[in-house]
């Protein structure tokens, strides 16, 4: 019985209540007081002290029914194009002018790179099927950080340990839903049993398609990747890269075969070169 999140970006209003609820419940510090210039997103990324992050993507004046190429966060791209759009403002929800908002979080992967990479056994899969870092065991080696295909987990060099979303392990143990899902005013973040959430999500996509939001699809449910299905998955309306998600997330070990082969071939080549050198020398 795996518990997880279904984050439906078509219901997100960008209020960031999830970010604040997460920091409040988990007592994480405020840590970044910089204006980023990335639309209304001043959080910028997930990290050791930021376990929910709302991304903002401005796509004004898209081609109707286009492939969703709106330039994210486009800045000063010429006056003439803008002038034309003035006479043709937005009609239709998620139509020509979009401001996409998406609350990102640890995916709690079925095949978690961080868990596989952890040499101390600090990272475990708990009774709710979620990936959890035990802070009293973590030694801060940082292997997990480079093993995560989503750039989620991060070592906090102030305390020497790796941190990420716990899916509110403590709240779940007391039968409560995670703080972010609790705080979300529009049910953009839904918490529950993953299979049930997936079913609900597929229905939702069908409904959106029927309403003309044909771009809607699920990320982290049915595609075949080395990380497997995501226990925190998303409903998106544009390509994953637009939300700063990898199109095909890949575990480091998925590349290992090729790497072994390359290493072997390199060793062979060096061996051959050395042998040639030695043999060549003897000939003289």
């Amino acid at each position: 019985m795996t518990k997880g999140f279904f984050t439906d970006t078509t219901l997100c209003i960008g209020c960031k209540a999830c970010e604040v609820a997460c920091k409040q419940w988990n007592q994480l510090p405020g840590d970044n007081y910089e204006f980023t210039g990335m639309s209304y997103d001043n959080t910028a990324a997930l990290g050791a002290t930021t376990w929910r992050h709302v991304a903002f993507v401005e796509q004004m004046g898209r081609q109707p029914n286009g492939a969703g190429d709106g330039a994210a966060n486009s800045v000063a791209n010429g006056a003439t194009a803008i002038a034309e759009r003035v006479s043709n403002p937005s009609v239709g929800f998620l139509g020509e002018n979009r401001w996409l908002m998406m609350s990102d979080v640890c995916k709690h992967c079925t095949n978690a790179g961080c868990l596989d990479a952890c040499p101390t056994g600090a990272i475990i899969r708990n009774e709710f099927g979620d990936v959890y870092v035990q802070p009293d065991i973590c030694n801060g080696c940082g292997y997990c950080q480079i093993a995560c295909p989503f750039g989620v987990i991060e070592v906090n060099y102030d305390d020497g340990r790796a941190w990420k979303c716990t899916l509110c392990y403590d709240r779940q143990k007391d039968g409560l839903e995670p703080a972010c899902a609790k705080a979300c005013p529009t049910q953009s973040i839904q918490f529950g049993e993953v299979e049930e959430l997936q079913e609900r999500a597929r229905e939702r996509v069908g409904m959106l398609h029927a309403r003309g939001v044909t771009d809607a699809y699920l990320y982290g449910v049915d595609e075949r990747t080395s990380v497997g299905p995501l226990n925190a998955f998303f409903l998106l309306v544009d390509r994953p890269e637009v939300y700063n998600l990898p199109e095909r997330p890949k575990l480091p070990q998925a590349r290992v075969g090729m790497h072994y082969l390359a290493t072997g071939l390199t060793a062979l080549a060096f061996g051959a070169a050395a042998a040639l050198t030695l043999l060549g020398g003897r000939r003289k």
Binding site: G14, V20, Q27, G37, L100, P185
Partner: protein, 876 residues
């Protein structure tokens, strides 16, 4: 809220937020609901999921627009033209709900012969007095027949009927004019008009949501009047999924107008007496209406006086009427005149509670300078907000400021019991979670104990002037170590009781004018109908398949009605207009066959008054109205399309340009609201029309991440990091012109001030092409000041002060400015945020031991720093 009060009878939102899910269409204008009311916006989202069309009309593409089906841009300050265009469309295309309009509005009522419209007088209404810049409204009156009954023509053909006047008045508000004035593309405007009308009528309803985007204008009340007219014509008032939702900017702003912090009102919208109302009879003479609900004023006023003065209020001493403070008829006590008077040395002391004037008050330099003229000042707040530091802001030498400042640490909501009255007139009780830290105390504690100490000081005085203080009932029970007043006993007094036995009354129907009942605020009467039964604390939601309008969740005034004027949800005969929009109807079998109003809400009508009831000739109060007149607060029982009184700048809305505008008024010869309140002072320079030094339009607003002046958010690390710096939103075309890139510093100037901000270059802002001109609108949020975790310049310093004549609200939503790349002339020593703060939650809470003053002192010598008055506190 004079706009709604004049149109319908009560100054509050006509509906409940959760009822938006029943709407077929929701028009959000003058509000950025998703950002400023994110929790209430869930109902808009749910309506959208159920198939409703969401329309957002706004100068900026915001988080609300992102979730709307239709977004239309609009030049700031032109809402009346847009709404007027919709009214004209509804009238000329015959799309109004005729039966509703004829029966429930004053469309058929005939106006007196002396009335002249803006059409006749080129931009002013009759009664305009040019010397004083005010209107005498006597020529706007109804024409009355025998017995004072207004004359009507239900064919709507009489040339002086309200309907015909309306048609003539709005004829010039064409789609072409809308495009020309508002900059909204014609086709888009027509699409909105079609959507609204297709979703209104017997079977469908449309709701309107507005907020400060309509009120903070010199024509603010008329913006709301225009919406009221439109909703009445479409038959959307008093019906499920309809209504006008006034979104209030704070948790209890509705409460602070109901039990007012306003200068001119007593609790329950009774007027504060003027000095010219020498006796209680004089007061009643001007405040008691012949017909309609306000005929009951004596019951409510006497009961209030009994609550305040107890046994010292008797028939012999006019129930203590003379103990009340009276307003000088010649002095304007509203916010801005008060501060100007203070600045001129006319006020000695000031209490500041939950306000941060130094950042939040438009033209806030004036407020800061004014406070430095005070002898003393008491400030209560959890943090050392800018307003507590006015004596060392603006580069002044503190030695030169003679004001004695008392800072009293305040408790927060979670640290005290109490109720909040929210945007839908609903009281919700909250219980204390923890004790306040150290010396921090609740407002109730502060005032109850201040009152006790003052009474001790004056005890035994026989001076007549000390009588009001000593005559008060001031016996709230105190509890616990800090002697906290039992705040529920305050709500019990507000709800009302019988004097003889001290038992709670059931509601305002029980109140009497003979001194036998006491009630602190008649509209709240019934919230505690019996000791120990605090309905504000009730938390029962409707179950599946149940629909009572969540009547057991909290308690809403009046009488727990959730949708006001809901008699209008039934036709004149008392049957629902349609099955789909059934809410309240007449059940002739109920009540032992005598019949009564029943339904899914508390009927907003005399419960057993049959639809066919006739007016009692010469009848007072409700008896003066028929069984088919649903607006029971109005003297004629009808929704007012035309306001014969109550609004100071005309019976109908008309488009006037904002006080500062790059464009002349193309609608009328009058540039600005003829009745606007201006302050022609050296410290309040205005830009006028098309001032080449200030070519850009600018509008101010709030973000989800902060709360008004930031007094409750800039001390929280979690909120501060989400929006750490002041920024200005600029369209790419203007940015290219001025060579500004995302994140650059820009300086914004007006004749009042100069501030700097980061540039947010975004296509969500659009240049407007109007009259061959390209107009740029700059958007700027106003949450920052020089204190707190994150700091920034004070946006409200930019604003000039000119006021709506009825509500005395300023024009913060549109003025003009200039902009250039780079930082402002005097570099700010303390510009950026406190990068060193790496804590969680609120920092620098004052009141606990070792109150830290440090954070502000770090910035001493910093340039001017600014203050707030919750802009909303200004009440519409």
């Amino acid at each position: 809220m004079p706009g709604l009060g004049t149109s319908f009878g009560r100054g509050g939102a006509t509906t409940a937020q959760w009822d938006l899910v029943n709407s077929d269409c929701i028009l959000i204008q003058g509000s950025n609901m998703a950002e400023c009311h994110p929790v209430g916006f869930r109902f808009v989202m749910e309506a959208r999921e159920r198939g409703a069309t969401i329309i957002h009309v706004d100068p900026r593409f915001t988080r609300t627009s992102a979730n709307a089906d239709i977004y239309a841009p609009l030049r700031p300050g032109t809402d009346i033209t847009f709404l007027g265009g919709l009214i004209n469309y509804v009238l000329s295309e015959e799309k109004f709900f005729r039966e509703y309009v004829v029966a429930y509005t004053n469309a058929a009522t005939i106006i007196g012969e002396d009335y002249r419209d803006t059409e006749d007088l080129d931009g002013v209404f009759s009664g305009y007095q040019a010397e004083s810049g005010t209107y005498n409204p006597t020529s706007w009156r109804y024409e009355v027949g025998e017995g004072g009954v207004p004359l009507r023509d239900e064919t709507l053909q009489h040339p002086r009927s309200v309907f015909q006047i309306l048609k003539r008045h709005f004829a010039r508000y064409t789609p072409e004019m809308v495009e020309q004035v508002c900059g909204t593309p014609r086709d888009l405007f027509v699409k909105i008009a079609e959507t609204l009308t297709a979703n209104s009528g017997r079977d469908r309803t449309t709701a309107f949501c507005y907020a400060l985007g309509w009120t903070q204008h010199t024509v603010g009340v008329q913006n709301i009047r225009a919406a009221a007219i439109l909703q009445l014509l479409l038959g959307n008032i008093g019906r499920p999924g309809g209504g006008i939702l006034a979104l209030r900017g704070h948790a209890a702003i509705q409460g602070s107008t109901d039990i007012p912090t306003l200068y001119n009102l007593l609790p329950g919208y009774l007027n504060i007496p003027y000095a010219s109302n020498r006796t209680f009879s004089d007061y009643l003479l001007v405040n008691q209406a012949e017909t309609g609900w306000w005929n009951n004023v004596p019951k409510y006023a006497v009961s209030m006086l009994k609550a305040w003065y107890g046994e010292n209020a008797t028939a012999e001493n006019e129930w203590g009427y003379q103990y009340l403070n009276k307003l000088d008829d010649k002095i304007d006590y509203s916010y801005y005149p008060m501060f100007f008077r203070m600045k001129d040395g006319g006020i000695r002391g000031l209490f500041v509670l939950g306000e941060n004037y130094a950042v939040g008050g438009p033209g806030s330099k004036v407020e800061r300078a004014a406070m430095r003229k005070l002898e003393w000042c008491v400030i209560r707040d959890p943090f050392l907000v800018e307003t507590a530091n006015f004596w060392k802001m603006d580069g002044v030498d503190p030695h030169a400021v003679n004001t004695e400042v008392f800072f009293m640490p305040a408790a927060w909501a979670a640290e005290k019991d109490g109720s909040l009255t929210n945007t839908q007139r609903m009281l919700q009780w909250h219980e204390k979670a923890i004790d306040p830290p150290g010396d921090a105390r609740s407002e109730t504690w502060f005032f109850v104990h201040l009152g006790r100490r003052l009474r001790q000081l004056y005890a035994g005085s026989t001076e007549e002037r000390d009588r009001p203080l000593l005559a008060m009932t001031w016996d709230y029970p105190l509890e616990g170590a800090i002697q906290e007043p039992r705040v529920e006993s305050v709500l019990e007094e507000i709800s009302g009781y019988t004097v003889a036995d001290g038992q709670q009354v059931a509601g305002f129907a029980d109140l009497k004018d003979d001194g036998s009942t006491a009630c602190g605020c008649w509209i709240y009467s019934g919230v505690i109908p019996a000791k120990g039964r605090n309905l504000a604390a009730s938390r029962v939601k409707d179950g599946p398949g149940e629909w009572t309008n969540n009547s057991r969740w909290g308690w809403a005034w009046p009488a727990n009605r959730r949708i006001l004027y809901n008699r209008a949800s039934a036709d004149p005969d008392g049957n629902p207009w349609s099955e789909r929009k059934r809410l309240v109807w007449w059940d002739s079998m109920a009540n032992d066959g005598k019949g009564q109003w029943v339904g899914y809400d508390v009927p907003d009508f005399v419960r057993d008054k049959a639809p066919e009831s006739q007016r009692v000739v010469g009848g007072k109060g409700a008896a003066g109205l028929t069984g088919a007149e649903p607006f029971i607060m109005q003297s004629d029982g009808r929704g007012w399309l035309f306001a014969p009184r109550g609004v100071k700048d005309g019976p109908l809305p008309a488009h006037y340009e904002p006080m500062e505008s790059p464009l002349p008024n193309v609608m009328y010869k009058r540039q600005n609201n003829p009745a606007v309140i201006e302050f022609d002072r050296a410290d309040n320079p205005m830009h006028g029309v098309d001032n080449p030094a200030f070519p850009y339009i600018i509008t101010t607003y709030r973000l989800t991440e902060h709360h008004t002046s930031g007094a409750m958010s800039r001390w929280s690390t979690w909120l501060s990091e989400l929006q750490p710096e002041l920024f200005a939103e600029i369209n790419p075309e203007l940015a290219a012109e001025l060579d500004i890139r995302m994140g650059d510093w820009v300086t914004v100037t007006t004749a009042r001030a100069e501030i700097e901000a980061r540039a947010m270059v975004t296509e969500r802002m659009r240049p407007m092409r109007i009259e061959g001109k390209t107009l740029h609108v700059i958007g700027i949020p106003y949450h920052w000041g020089p204190a707190g975790v994150v700091t920034g310049d004070v946006v409200n310093d930019l604003i000039g002060i000119a006021l709506d004549p009825t509500s005395q609200i300023h024009e913060a939503k549109v003025f003009t400015c200039n902009m250039r790349k780079g930082r402002r002339a005097q570099a700010i020593p303390s510009g950026g945020p406190h990068a060193s703060v790496a804590e969680g939650g609120a920092i620098d809470r004052i009141g606990s031991e070792g109150a830290e003053m440090a954070r502000f002192d770090e910035h001493e010598g910093a340039e001017p720093l600014p203050v707030e008055r919750p802009a909303e506190a200004t009440y519409d």
